[in-house]
Symmetry: C3
Subunit: 356 residues, 3 copies
């Protein structure tokens, strides 16, 4: 049991806790000066084991706007990690220097692993393809600020719905609110996985599927664009034939409602044509700026003990079982307790959520 209130996984928090973060963020947007000394004397460490300049700068800006200060690294080859130091030692030491530690790491479950032994709260800024909770909080604040609500919205999500962690997390979060309806826009190969669809319907929301932006865009409140990587298509010909269907341009925007907003977790590559940037409904840059405010709210909520997560490890320790996922943090950090949750008959790794 950790003594700190980490943010590892949004699922560890109640809807009330998440609401309170978004509500606090709205207040900070409105009265930023009232918060400019809120974390005076506090130090944030940003340990980025893989580069993500924008996420790192967003956290750093958030802490600076709260009057705090910064240490950290952004380059694994420059860190002690390069000398073979394990995650535990690095985070134990740095969490003794800092008041709050933000970590991005390519291994799934790494933030949870670090939180087990850290001497300060940890924020998960992305653990491989697994979780990226502050992106979802950013999306929620943007909706709240720009549409005025998180419920009774018709939301299109477009791109690689099979693999996109930001889409999965957003759908899970928004299906907690009444009356939301989702339009899932993707190729057949990249459809949303069934377990996410089950969550949506179990929580009382509806979804439909579509295979092009054009057919879906006519009555949306929000269109959430993400990238489809060239490699994801069945073949190069398939890619060439279909790619334009998933590129947002001014022609497709002409078919969308006047008050539909366009979001994107960024970076984009080709999936939104540059010409769309001048459309007042294109809010992806503003969305990035909202990300600073929601991170400010999160930092305050954690440092002031305003939110209360579930325990880090939810399963049981099974000594002779090992997670088989090569991207799981347990594959590189052998001292970690082998903890597994039960899901029906199956065992699910407590770190990376993959089935045994």
């Amino acid at each position: 049991m950790s003594a700190y209130e980490h943010l590892i996984d949004l699922d560890d928090y109640s809807d009330e806790d998440l609401d309170s973060i978004v509500t606090l963020a709205q207040d900070i947007v409105k009265y930023p000066r009232s918060y400019s000394e809120r974390c005076g004397g506090k130090i944030m460490a940003t340990l980025f084991y893989e580069p993500s300049t924008r996420t790192q700068m967003s956290f750093q800006t958030a802490m600076l706007k709260l009057g705090g200060t910064l240490i950290g690294f952004d380059n694994p080859s420059v860190s002690s990690v390069a000398k073979g130091e394990n995650l535990k030692d690095t985070t134990k030491i740095v969490s003794g220097y800092a008041d709050i530690l933000v970590m991005r790491n390519p291994f799934e479950g790494s933030a949870k692993a670090a939180a087990l032994t850290a001497c300060c709260p940890i924020i998960n800024a992305g653990d491989g393809g697994h979780l990226h909770p502050t992106q979802t909080l950013t999306d929620m604040l943007t909706l709240k600020m720009e549409k005025g609500r998180l419920d009774h919205l018709k939301i299109g999500v477009c791109g690689d719905l099979m693999n996109g962690r930001t889409v999965h997390s957003l759908l899970k979060a928004l299906s907690c609110y009444e009356g939301n309806e989702f339009v899932l826009i993707s190729t057949k190969e990249l459809r949303l996985p069934d377990y996410i669809k089950d969550i949506i319907t179990k929580r009382g929301c509806k979804y439909t599927e579509a295979f092009s932006i054009e057919e879906a865009v006519g009555d949306l409140d929000m269109l959430y664009m993400t990238r489809i990587q060239r490699e994801r298509f069945a073949s190069e010909e398939e890619y060439d034939r279909q790619k334009n269907v998933y590129i947002l341009d001014t022609d497709k925007m002409a078919k969308a409602p006047k008050d539909m907003i366009v979001l994107h977790p960024l970076p984009r590559v080709d999936e939104i044509a540059s010409e769309v940037d001048d459309d007042p409904r294109a809010l992806y840059f503003k969305q990035a700026h909202y990300g600073v405010y929601v991170r400010m709210a999160l930092i305050i909520s954690i440092l002031e003990n305003r939110i209360h997560p579930l325990p880090l490890l939810k399963g049981e320790i099974i000594k002779d079982k090992h997670c088989h996922n090569p991207k799981c943090i347990t594959s590189t950090e052998p001292y970690l307790p082998n903890s597994f949750k039960r899901s029906g008959d199956a065992l699910v790794c407590d770190y990376c959520d993959s089935k045994l």
Copy 2:
């Protein structure tokens, strides 16, 4: 039209604006404490797409001495750029985090391109071999502090006068002041280009040419040294034969006036012998320190709207024309408007200033 007062090119500013920056810098040198909270609560982002530690630290020190704070990167491989994000997206996002953005980028015209869509003022900290305006402001402050004036000076400039952007910029700036006289010291191959010579005479100043430091150094008020790269000589033999002519040592200093000052934009390699460092006339390290103060003055001037540049794009948009300079930012950022100025019959790229 940008809503912000960027510093891209000194030519965009009136002499009064430049004078006001230097005068403010002198005041900061004298009363640094009065300015120590001037930018409290403000954030500077330093985006260095190529390394230039000293320039970056100079800007960072300037902001810290004004009570501001810092975000940024210094390593392109670590930035989102490595994931293929274009200049516009990166600078739009970061300029929403920061209050002022300092950018160095190897492409010519990149700072201007970023300024077109940025959400905060941009300072050009070097765009390839094109412009480096804060170096020239540093040189001007050094002259003002150490010689007491910017006019009626006899100034030697030595090195690669053909390609040296700092020399070009300094000559253009100082030829605006009455009674300045320039001695251009270089090999025949590396002489100052005619268009700079034309600017000097058009503005009413004189110049002479010399082929060695020794013949020129006897009556100078200031000697501005720069590097001649080995590659610039006609041949290896030519280099070996001539290089010492352009190396400043104690023998040559013995021939110089007692009150002549020696400047250098740094880093130096061999062109000033290490023994000269102990000469009280060697002011290149002090010059680097003045650079902090002039950058403090610039940051204040921009954040407090004290200076007023010309519009960023001065030409007309010609849709089907493209700049041919492979180092121009338009070669990598296709969304940029193709803007060209007219110079006689020729078209000149509005970003990199090269002729079509």
Copy 3:
């Protein structure tokens, strides 16, 4: 003669000066808030020519906790050094930006070399395998905090005693205190060099040698673990046969006194089993955290002129003699005065302390 009170080598300071740093550090541990503005408005530059994330973050945290601010680099390839700038020019310029400069550099004697011409005080954060004085100060503060004293202690040091600079420095420092006794635990090949043994006995302390942790651990007050690198063993078989003798695990801890503390300069690799971390006597992470406080005390002591080192160069300049150590800073920076101390008949390099 430098105008500043650098920390290059603990031997340059009196026992009173070192005591005063440790005593001040104890006070900071107790009343950290009283010191939170002590260095307001001051800038620390951390120039790390080779990566050492933890040491760099420790210094940065120390400065931030004193209300100061930070500039610096951690990646030589990104610095001007990559363009061929020498140590003198870089440190002269940066020491004009900063109020205090912390340097790590792989060349022996580099911090002393930089201090000769710097415009602010220099702290040596490691110059190759030569010196790392703030690690020793950290060890001393940890002992003082956890054992209540620096004298009358029985101290085991284990690992590569031949090459370990932290062990040498700690033994030299602790042998100044009355009644200390040392147990030197290593393989025969990696025994402590005679000149350190001589210092110990000359200062009135005793030592014994041991070849395993088990035989030594029974009556120690402190066990100081360090790494033995695989390459240091006579052969691969020798390594496999002996390595476990020098790995601390729970079995060996069971033989140790209840109040024995375990320290390690970190990073560790295999020499302390991860299971030991949960033992309350395992204080190496706490030790790392004490490192911040002793660095705070050091920064204050230097910036407020509370400590008074010997002159930097102690020998005589011999123009035609050159140090033969290829890792000595004089091998790459030819402008440095060739200064040598006399030790009996031999000449000792004033930078790297190797015999000519």
